[in-house]
Amino acid sequence: MIDEVDVNGLPTRSVSRRTFIKGVIAAGATASTAGTLFRASGGGLFAATALQGTAERLLTLNVNGQQRRVDVLPNETLAMTLRYKLGLTGTKLGCDRAECGACTVLVDGVNHYGCSILTHAVRGRSVTTVEGLQDPETGALSPVQQAVLEGGGFQCAFCAPGFLMSMTALVTSTPSFTRDEAASALSGNLCRCGDYNKILDCAMRAGELARSV
């Protein structure tokens, strides 16, 4: 098959739109971090902690079971690192104010708002995003993913990754729960399409699937 060529003579078909955008993001992130001046501290304490590896710019993050080396600014949130530096765009930024829950990720299995936690604060902890829910070996969907697939829980689904992470925190921490408990556990995630009933159906089904594993 002959690749289509755009006005600049670049192939367009062999690169999907999403992959192309992610490539641009990665290039942009490299350029922007390289261009940002880092104010190093002259303080002795900083030097001492740097020796212990606590305040270095270059971090190794455990994301979805992989060790990822990444250059992180002091004022960078986890959602930004995941999306713009690691290409994990499943994590969405909605409000960026710890209100909507679209950025929800798991840190050591507990759900947090990725927009409101510094990436430096998760050093040494295990981060799970929506990309990390399926079994890395078999590709099998997690009980939560399976339940959402079966139930078609979302309309526009911008909020879905965040909901899936909160559901995952629920089904892994609570063996059995009521619909009210599920609503309470998912209360930190907003769905502007208003699909809450279907989302709760999925949560209950996810609980069943998790128990049957």
Partner: protein
Amino acid sequence: MATIRDMMPAFELFQPATVEDAVALLAEHGREAWALAGGLDSMDWFKDRIKRPRVVIDLGGIPDLTGIQERGEGLDIGAMTSLSAVAADERVRSRFQLLADAASQVATPQIRNQGTLGGNVSQDTRCWYYRSGWPCYRAGGNTCYASAPQAMNREHCILGASRCVAVNPSDTAPALVALDATMDVRNRRGTRTVAAEDYFVGPAIDITRMTALKPGDLLTSIRVPADWAGARFYFEKVRDRGSWDFALVTVAAAFRTAGGRIDQARVVVNGVAAYPVRLHDVERLVTGAPASEETAQAAGDLAVQGARPLKYNGYKLALMRNLVRRAVRSAA
């Protein structure tokens, strides 16, 4: 390409591992330093560029600030203990259900998982004029936009106004005042202990701060004494939304009763002033009184004496009166 539309302004980040290091850093950087607990209040300020600290000291890596220790029947709660951990702790639930109730009603699961007890009691007010960066009294300016003739002040105070009419938004603060908790505050010169009732300050005392913390101070521990362990408690938070929201008015109360009589009482209301208001007069009224409907009615009426609503928050009078009544009724 997606734009990073809300990168916080740059700051220097420190992640000390000990309280000593944190206190030394706070002392070194003074007013330019910001102590970061869970960060949920802090990051709003940073993203909105209203507060721009040069130095941020992340307290999350200090093991000594996290966890709950027993002290007899009392509990010492590290300031960095998450609200989820406080709400789920069996000792908190069996002895001080009031605090567990309060902690479990803060915001959302994600916020409770990251937000800390120390941060919850030390958070800033939600007055949106102030939070939007208007140069009001609290921000060091010379006017209050929330009490201006055209101001929207449905969520503001009915008690304790002094130029500023903001309210304290914390759910756990009134519970801690009702439990006679104390706060350990550390700085380079040493540790001082502040009663919870004095930890929260109104604008008449310090118009730019919600707490007794000064630059260089670090809240390290919240101590809940044994006094009220296993007492009868009442906590109710009224908010606009059934799901999650800041409180409009909250009541936290503790009672010791015997033979249908109230022997001891603590009644504290939040959301009505810049600090949780302990109702000493109401406590005196109900102490020794029968736990009856008459007592509840009288307590509610007394609670709102002296309250002065603003243009749009008159409903808070009825709300506060009724919540105090419900609290006293619960002692029956």
